[in-house]
């Protein structure tokens, strides 16, 4: 057996923890090919210490450590929602795949009073082509990569496929849904 490096151990710990909070097996998580990118994202955004603290936190605590929520959502949809965006339904709606029409058609009022709509910026940024930067240099919201989107676990959880990828084939929609779990 080869010697594991410290970095590899940390990554394994992260995936092990992620399996508990996402409800998917470690095998599933490694299978997305996103483990390293997600671990790197979380550490870059929140710092090593905050991630370790989140991983050691009591999952049933109320309120839970918001960083845990960020990690869960990262695995489910490939989007990094910084902990300051926890519970922001408006942000969630804008980041969901476009589908039928312009959206959100019926905005939610969860944006805290006085907080800046994060898309209140012009041109490329408004169109989502540039990342938003928080005041402290962090980036509170981004898609980790195009692959992170298509590898989201959410779609497997709902017996579907990512909108615009991994299509199940002509006529597959005729039959009742099948849930893996």
């Amino acid at each position: 057996m080869t010697q594991s490096t410290d970095a590899e151990n940390k990554l394994r710990e992260f995936v092990k923890f992620s399996a508990t909070v996402t409800g998917f097996s470690e095998f599933d998580l490694w299978g997305t090919g996103q483990a390293e990118a997600y671990y790197e994202t979380a550490v870059n955004q929140e710092g090593q210490e905050a991630i370790e603290k989140a991983m050691a936190s009591d999952p049933s605590a109320v309120p839970a450590d918001p960083v845990v929520g960020s990690i869960v959502k990262l695995w489910y949809v490939g989007v990094w929602y910084g902990p300051e965006l926890a519970g922001r339904m408006d942000v969630a709606a804008w980041t969901a795949p476009g589908r039928s029409g312009a959206k959100p058609a019926v905005p939610d009022d969860s944006r805290p009073e006085g907080s800046r709509p994060w898309l209140a910026a012009s041109g490329r940024h408004q169109a989502g082509e540039e990342r938003a930067h928080g005041g402290d240099g962090r980036e509170p919201l981004f898609v980790v990569s195009p692959d992170a989107y298509t590898e989201g676990l959410l779609w497997r959880a709902i017996g579907a496929h990512p909108s615009g990828a991994k299509a199940p084939g002509y006529g597959s929609w005729v039959n009742p849904p099948v849930f893996e779990d």
């Binding site: 476009g98 959206k103 169109a127 009742p176 849930f179």
Partner: protein, 636 residues
């Protein structure tokens, strides 16, 4: 034909960039077409086939339609943090498009780059159109319904709206042409309702898209449901929608010759674009090109040699000869790149000019060219229409497989027509296979709610998501909106884009006739949810830009991206902008081809009708050119 049974369309490599604006300006063209979308591509292809030299002026980026470029759209969509319905397409400051991210009231002090559509009123529509090669057909959903026979004489029949200068029977052969070009999948037996008729023996090119499990679930409750409206009784039924997307070809098509679906467009043979695979992503982009986009028509046109295209050329002025009011040329601003505002101006000249830039851009261009001054009807930019969408959503008692299929396979169309239209708008009902996404931002909002608000983790989270999202039912009511001369596109010197072109100023309100239909729709949704045992979860937000009050109730009416009516057709120059051939009443060598010509939109998505009209007009333009180019008869 390729191994997968599709007809491959090869886009000539380099065609998007090989004709420079300078060369185009020196050329002698039979026809100058503004816009390479559905209408422009059909007209160009037809004129090219008839032997005429055509140049298309396209505002969008100068990229060939090939798989690599198409994949870049898809990759941009996957990676975009804001996944609105324009997210696959590059941000282009020089030919911007409206986006739901910039739907808001603006004034002249709002930073120029914050928005494209100028809306100053309280109600703002989030409607969009797309400015890339292929136009809005890249983004459209692909529903391809015909208009009802009664839609063509609504004024005579019900005292509402306007009559068309032509009827269903005049357009019927062109509907068939459009159904062939777009590759429509449907069955006549499903579509022969409310007076829609087809020649004996006609079959659609492909068989109907199968109804989703969700549609079937709704049908179990809805089929046979009775509704009384204006003293008439209607029986409801879930029906499949005709769709311009590749399915199973009907062997009986064209007297038994069958139909070969058109596959993906690329600069080389591409084994893609076969049958719809169920990507549930028709809007904003079909990943496999199973859905028709006008690149399929454009590639044919460009391959034949008579048609050329100049890209990154934004039409900025229609030059008019003051003496005889003929169009003397189209001036374009040819920009260098998407990252630079540098441009050069050229004027391109031809025998006839055909504006195919979509309802808002056609009007904007003409108004920016000061053409209202010469319009006898003064109706350029007036009668702007779009379907008014009312969304209603509920939670079904059992998982119904939501989030699978094409965006929409079935719906209820029995209330599209009838005598009730004398007092309230008709509507079609879409059953959305993509769940509550449009209304609420599901499934991401469900995720955030369960993770952050309810603190769910692990298997509990996974199971709850599956159970909750698979039960979502969204009924979208697509409601008729009549021509109203106070719904307008105008221009205003205070609003200009990066190239100095005037931006479109849109003033749009939802009329009471439409809202009476919306109020009825809301009640009908409640009844349908009850029949299905679904929990009604619909809420409306009166603080939103889409809020409309009617009879003391607030609703949200959202845009349908079915923009029409800014240069309506009619029988006389005092009350319409074009005649039944889409020929301008005021400029002898000008045609305005596109949804702007529709005098009403009924309850059918506009593209198929627009395509049918484009085929019909192309025939008239050929006759016009033949006459214009005939040797003059010299009398002694």
């Amino acid at each position: 034909m390729s191994y997968d049974g599709t007809d491959q369309v090869v886009f000539p490599a380099g065609a998007a960039t090989q004709t420079s604006a300078a060369e185009a300006a020196q050329g002698e063209w039979d026809a100058v077409v503004v816009g390479g979308g559905m209408a422009g591509s059909i007209v160009a292809e037809q004129l090219g086939q008839a032997g005429y030299k055509v140049v298309i002026l396209e505002a969008g980026p100068g990229k060939d339609l090939d798989l690599a470029e198409y994949e870049s759209y898809l990759s941009r969509f996957y990676g975009a943090v804001v996944k609105d319905n324009q997210s696959p397409y590059p941000f282009n400051p020089n030919a911007r498009m409206p986006r739901s991210t910039d739907t808001m009231p603006v004034d002249p002090s709002t930073p120029r780059d914050d928005f494209y559509l100028v809306q100053e009123g309280e109600y703002c529509t989030d409607t969009t159109f797309t400015r890339v090669l292929g136009g809005t057909s890249m983004h459209w959903e692909g529903k391809a319904l015909r208009m009802l026979p009664e839609d063509f004489d609504l004024r005579t029949k019900y005292g509402q709206g306007l009559n068309w200068p032509l009827g269903y029977d005049d357009l019927e052969p062109y509907y068939r042409k459009a159904e062939a070009e777009l590759g429509v999948a449907a069955e006549v037996e499903d579509q022969a309702y409310l007076g829609m008729h087809f020649p004996k023996g006609y079959v659609f090119p492909m068989h109907r898209m199968p109804l989703s499990y969700l549609d079937q679930t709704v049908a179990r409750g809805v089929d046979g449901m009775r509704v009384t409206l204006a003293d008439d009784e209607y029986t409801l039924q879930v029906r499949s929608f005709p769709q311009a997307r590749n399915g199973v070809p009907n062997a009986a098509y064209d007297g038994g010759k069958g139909f070969v679906p058109v596959g993906a467009v690329s600069t080389s043979q591409a084994e893609e674009g076969e049958r719809c695979q169920g990507n549930t992503n028709c809007v904003p982009l079909c990943p496999v090109q199973a859905k028709y986009h006008s690149g399929k028509t454009l590639a044919k046109a460009l391959s034949r040699g008579n048609v050329e295209i100049v890209t990154q050329a934004v039409a900025s002025k229609v030059e008019i000869n003051e003496h005889d009011r003929r169009v003397a040329g189209i001036t374009v601003k040819k920009y260098e790149s998407l990252d630079s505002e540098k441009y050069e101006e050229y004027t391109v000249k031809g025998t006839v000019y055909i504006l195919c830039a979509h309802a808002i851009e056609n009007a904007r261009l003409m108004l920016a060219s000061d053409m209202q001054r010469m319009s006898r009807s003064k109706l350029i930019g007036r009668n702007l229409m779009d379907h008014a969408y009312l969304l209603t959503w509920g939670l079904l008692p059992q998982p119904a497989g939501t989030m699978r299929g094409t965006t929409c396979t079935g719906g209820i169309t029995d209330l599209r027509g009838g005598r009730f239209r004398a007092s309230q708008a008709g509507f079609g009902v879409d059953i959305h296979n993509d769940g509550w996404g449009w209304a609420t931002g599901s499934p991401y909002t469900d995720l955030v709610e369960l993770v952050d608000k309810r603190g769910l983790r692990g298997r509990d989270l996974r199971r709850t998501l599956g159970n909750q999202i698979s039960r979502q039912l969204l009924l979208a009511f697509m409601i008729d909106l009549l021509p109203d001369s106070s719904n307008t596109v105008t221009v205003d010197e205070r609003y200009k884009d990066a190239l100095g072109n005037l931006k479109p100023v849109v003033s749009f309100k939802i009329p009471p006739y439409t809202m009476r239909g919306a109020a009825f729709a809301r009640k009908l949704a409640t009844d349908i949810f009850e029949k299905l045992g679904a929990e009604d979860r619909t809420t409306y937000d009166k603080d939103s830009y889409s809020a409309v009050e009617h009879d003391g109730q607030w609703y949200n009416i959202v845009g349908g991206n079915h923009l029409a009516g800014t240069h309506i057709m009619g029988t006389d120059p005092a009350h319409s902008v074009v005649d039944h051939t889409q020929h301008s009443w005021d400029h002898e060598n000008l045609y305005l081809v596109g949804p702007g010509s529709l005098p009403s939109i009924g309850t059918s998505n506009i593209s198929l009708t627009m395509a049918a009209l484009a085929f019909r007009s192309a025939g008239h333009i050929v006759r016009h050119l033949r006459a214009a180019k005939a040797p003059a008869v010299v009398r002694a």
